[in-house]
């Protein structure tokens, strides 16, 4: 894979033939995905989603010592207003001196739509440099500049000669794709082109051979673990714990990293993703350009996939035996700790919604804890889900709904499947709550979900939530969702139109 000479990456409909509209049994989905015939399914009724730009900000807003420029009309990036308050605290968990979230909107108005917005962008860059002296200025480009023909890259090229901050343009125009996850490629594309290239070798006052050897050895035992903005600092500590036990060092990227940290990424021995949906573009390019191998197969959620994640890494370093000993010991302790919880969960039926990799991994986790998974919903679907979804026997015949949001389909599924629990992504949970269903959030930026201790924490939280679901029960009894009763009598996937499939 090498798109780095291009200004912008291809969108995922093209690159991965990803789809965001499907409803049917899981096994059919995997079968169709393998044949590549999901692309192009549409909805005749749709609800809002989120776009590349929104999701790009989920990563970019976490970068320390950076200023974000949203090149667009004044509302683009407005979602950051809800993040500004907590962002500083999360950054300070990585560096206590971190500043909070800083962004500038180029405020394109009617005049700019007619005459172009390049001048606004240039002024915003110069302002960001002068006002904040950041290490990086990250520009997210919205729909309007793309359609009016602003040449963002030329503005950047000129401005880069005048500012010391590294300028990172991210081409994430919302209208270009329905697959929000294209954002990850857009962000990594910007990072690959602007934070990794033209590196200055570190100057040393004295060359010490022993030191150099030590560094080389360290690098050979160092892996880049690619985090996601939906995980917590405690999740990261758990991954550090797991790999330290195998005597490995970690660089954690890209979320909450400092712009300079990306330089270091090219020195590691291995790239390890926790979510293929998030990272395939980045690790493929690091392999192509810097010859760093990668592991992209699974997410360390639940025992099965945490074991697999560790073993895949161990295989690379040839330390399978040590890893197996560690795993056995961890699983044994965990099993003992989980024993009292399993009986609480036995027979509880759950619908899970969120990112494709995460929901499939959580299906395995909740099955392991004794729950019955009765439906899955994923923001989008592509080949990266096939292995994990295909191998879990108990979910083969249950409905799988591919939908970015689309709470009307979720409401229909919940009304008809009547789960005892909904486990979902931010923004989707409220709709289940209003149907009176207890909710376990799929992630939380202050809670632990990953690794072995994550399994225990999920069990502990789930037991707590199920112990008193009165809040949601009362909510369900007293508020109504916005759909006509007749909607619940229809098939949940009635508005998915397969007529246009591009085989």
């Amino acid at each position: 894979m090498d798109y780095i000479s291009e200004k912008a990456p291809p969108v995922r409909e093209e690159r991965l033939r990803a789809c965001n509209a499907y409803g049917g049994p899981s096994d059919h989905l995997v079968e169709k995905s393998k044949k590549g015939c999901l692309n192009g399914i549409k909805r005749k009724f749709s609800q809002t989603q989120g776009c590349q730009l929104n999701l790009s900000l989920a990563i970019i807003n976490t970068i320390r010592d950076a200023v974000v420029i949203v090149h667009g009309p004044v509302g683009c990036g407005g979602g950051s207003l809800a993040q500004a308050g907590v962002n500083k605290g999360f950054k300070q968990l990585r560096d206590s001196g971190s500043r909070g979230l800083l962004w500038v909107n180029t405020n394109l108005g009617e005049n700019e739509v007619i005459n172009g917005g390049e001048a606004n962008l240039r002024e915003a860059i110069l302002y960001a440099e002068k006002e904040f002296r950041p290490s990086a200025i990250v520009i997210v480009n919205s729909c309007v500049p793309a359609i009016i023909g602003d040449d963002v890259d030329s503005v950047v090229e000129q401005a880069q000669k005048e500012v010391t901050a590294r300028i990172v343009p991210v081409h994430c125009e919302g209208f270009k794709t329905k697959i929000q996850a294209s954002a990850y490629d857009a962000v990594y594309h910007g990072i690959l082109r602007n934070l990794l290239e033209n590196r200055q070798p570190e100057l040393r006052t004295e060359e010490d051979e022993l030191e150099l050897l030590k560094e080389k050895y360290q690098a050979s035992r160092t892996i880049n673990v690619l985090n996601v903005s939906s995980m917590s600092r405690i999740d990261e500590y758990e991954l550090v714990r797991l790999l330290k036990a195998l005597d490995l060092n970690l660089n954690i990227l890209p979320c909450y990293a400092h712009p300079h940290d990306f330089y270091k990424a090219t020195e590691a021995a291995l790239n390890v993703s926790i979510c293929a949906t998030h990272d395939d573009y980045f690790v493929e390019h690091l392999k192509e350009k810097y010859h760093i191998p990668f592991i992209l197969r699974t997410i360390p959620i639940g025992v099965k996939y945490t074991n697999r994640w560790i073993m895949d890494i161990a295989k690379f370093f040839g330390i399978e035996e040590a890893a197996q000993r560690f795993i056995d010991q961890e699983v044994k302790q965990l099993e003992e700790a989980l024993a009292p919880y399993r009986k609480l969960f036995k027979g509880k039926r759950v619908l899970i919604g969120g990112g494709e990799i995460r929901v499939v991994a959580n299906a395995e986790l909740l099955t392991y804890l004794g729950l019955e998974v009765i439906g899955l919903r994923a923001y989008h679907y592509d080949q990266f889900g096939d292995e994990m979804l295909g191998e879990q026997e108990v979910v083969q015949r249950i409905p799988f709904n591919v939908a970015t949001g689309q709470p009307f389909e979720q409401a229909n599924l919940n009304a008809n499947l009547k789960p005892d629990l909904y486990m979902g992504h931010v923004g989707t949970n409220v709709w289940a709550a209003k149907q009176g269903i207890p909710v376990l959030p799929l992630f939380h930026q202050s809670q632990l979900f990953l690794g072995y201790t994550g399994v225990f924490e999920v069990a502990r939280r789930l037991a707590r939530i199920l112990r008193n679901p009165s809040f949601n029960q009362k909510l369900g009894a007293n508020v109504k969702l916005p759909y006509y009763e007749s909607w619940y009598e229809q098939d949940a996937f009635a508005y998915i139109d397969e007529g246009n499939i591009q085989a």
Partner: protein, 446 residues
């Protein structure tokens, strides 16, 4: 040419339109825009608004045509028509309003014509062009209200003398809108009038539909709702009056007197209402006579707010709390004429306090204006420092407050560090709530 804005405290005109419709009972927005516009609003209209939530049919439930590249190339009207038809099938609403985003406005989709085809067949569907490049949230409010007043409010040749409409208080952008509207209705009620606020508790879309029968429109803003008030006057022959936002007992008294005069209410009734309300208010404030003076609760203050809250909060702290507001930053995008109208509200405070008022949209500039307004200590042994101090603003201004060592309360959008339900800061009751919140912080560590 417009200038960039550092950390703008509003969305675009479509965001404001969606917020306005989210607040309107059982109105359904259908956004004709790219897929991310609504998702972006969903975040800004929940986490930055005292946790307003997704609402009845907003957040991720917002019907949206989710047009993408192909529709932008070939036109999105067909997709919009399909989306409207199917929204009518699934979503239970009293009024469906199509609001358009930048892309479809730029390519020239005629959303109004598409919506009219539904309207002509008897469906309650309207469309407003709200492309984000037209302006900010406040503009979106004005565009939606203007459209509703022109095309939805029914013609009522016979006016009801005892009914008025109140607007200019921008729902959600005023995070305390719902509680505030309750207070405005109650104040009008005390003068013997029924008030439609369109967005208030217990109101339905019918209150809006029948609003043409009102005898007067009361606009509680110098700049927002004025355009719609003019449209209302042209379309329904109802005059309007602009009055101050009644925050604090002094402004509330002024509000009651001005509204009373415009409605030709008997003075004795106005006097009586004011007397009763003040007795109620001071019956509680009297309690603070001890702590205010024992612990010296006078504060220097900085106020960072929109065009509605800025003057109202400042007058309250100056004329009612006896504080010293030294700097006010109004963060809205305003024309010179609008700035002059807002600046005028800061003149003639009874306390004689005249704060420095600046108009600046950029968050970091607040501290620069402060440095210009109050000298820094250059190692002087005896220095008149800006202390003790209090900052009233949004959650974005917390860092500035920390830099001054000042207490801080989020009162204006965005508010992410408080939960707001029916709290109000208007009228006499709201002033008591604001005092509880402000002084509550001052005793918070005791």
């Amino acid at each position: 040419m417009s200038k960039f804005i550092e950390r703008p405290r509003y969305l675009c005109s479509m965001g404001g339109a969606v917020a306005t419709l989210k607040a309107l009972p059982k109105a359904i927005s259908i956004i004709h825009a790219a897929a991310g516009c609504g998702g972006n609003f969903g975040n800004a209209l929940n986490g930055a608004t005292g946790y307003l939530g997704s609402g009845y049919c907003a957040g991720q439930a917002l019907p949206s045509s989710n047009v993408y590249e192909k529709d932008i190339v070939f036109g999105g009207e067909e997709r919009l028509e399909e989306q409207i038809a199917n929204t009518l099938e699934i979503v239970d609403g009293d009024l469906y309003v199509v609001v358009t985003g930048c892309m479809v406005d730029i390519i020239g989709d005629d959303a109004v014509a598409v919506a009219n085809r539904f309207k002509d067949s008897g469906k309650p569907v309207l469309a407003v062009e709200t492309g984000g490049f037209k302006g900010n949230s406040f503009k979106g409010y004005d565009l939606v209200l203007g459209k509703l007043f022109r095309d939805f409010v029914a013609q009522q040749p016979v006016k009801d003398k005892q009914t008025v409409n109140i607007f200019g208080l921008v729902p959600i952008q005023d995070v305390f809108w719902k509680g505030n509207l309750n207070i405005l209705k109650a104040l009008l009620n005390k003068l013997g009038f029924k008030a439609n606020t369109f967005f208030g508790e217990g109101e339905t879309i019918d209150n809006l539909k029948q609003a043409g029968a009102a005898s007067l429109n009361i606009v509680v803003s110098d700049v927002y709702g004025i355009g719609p008030a003019q449209i209302f006057e042209e379309t329904h022959d109802v005059p309007y009056v602009v009055v101050p936002l009644p925050l604090g007992p002094s402004s509330t008294e002024e509000f009651l007197r001005q509204v009373g005069a415009a409605l030709k209410v008997d003075h004795t009734l106005v006097d009586q209402v004011i007397a009763e309300e003040k007795a109620h208010y001071y019956g509680y404030v009297e309690r603070l006579g001890d702590v205010y003076n024992d612990l010296d609760f006078q504060r220097y203050s900085v106020i960072v707010a929109d065009a509605n809250y800025g003057p109202a909060l400042t007058k309250f702290v100056a004329d009612d709390l006896g504080w010293l507001p030294e700097l006010v930053v109004i963060t809205d995008i305003l024309s010179d004429e609008e700035q002059a109208l807002v600046a005028d509200r800061f003149r003639g405070f009874a306390s004689g306090i005249a704060p420095k008022v600046v108009f600046d949209t950029d968050t970091s500039n607040v501290s620069k204006h402060f440095s210009a307004a109050w000298p820094r200590n250059n190692n002087a042994r005896y220095f008149d420092s800006f202390s003790p101090a209090f900052v009233l603003g949004s959650s974005l201004d917390r860092e500035f407050a920390e830099s001054l060592g000042a207490a801080h309360l989020s009162v204006t959008y965005p508010i992410s560090n408080r939960v707001v339900l029916d709290r109000t800061y208007l009228g006499y009751d709201g002033s008591l709530r604001l005092i509880e919140d402000i002084f509550g912080l001052l005793v918070g560590s005791r």
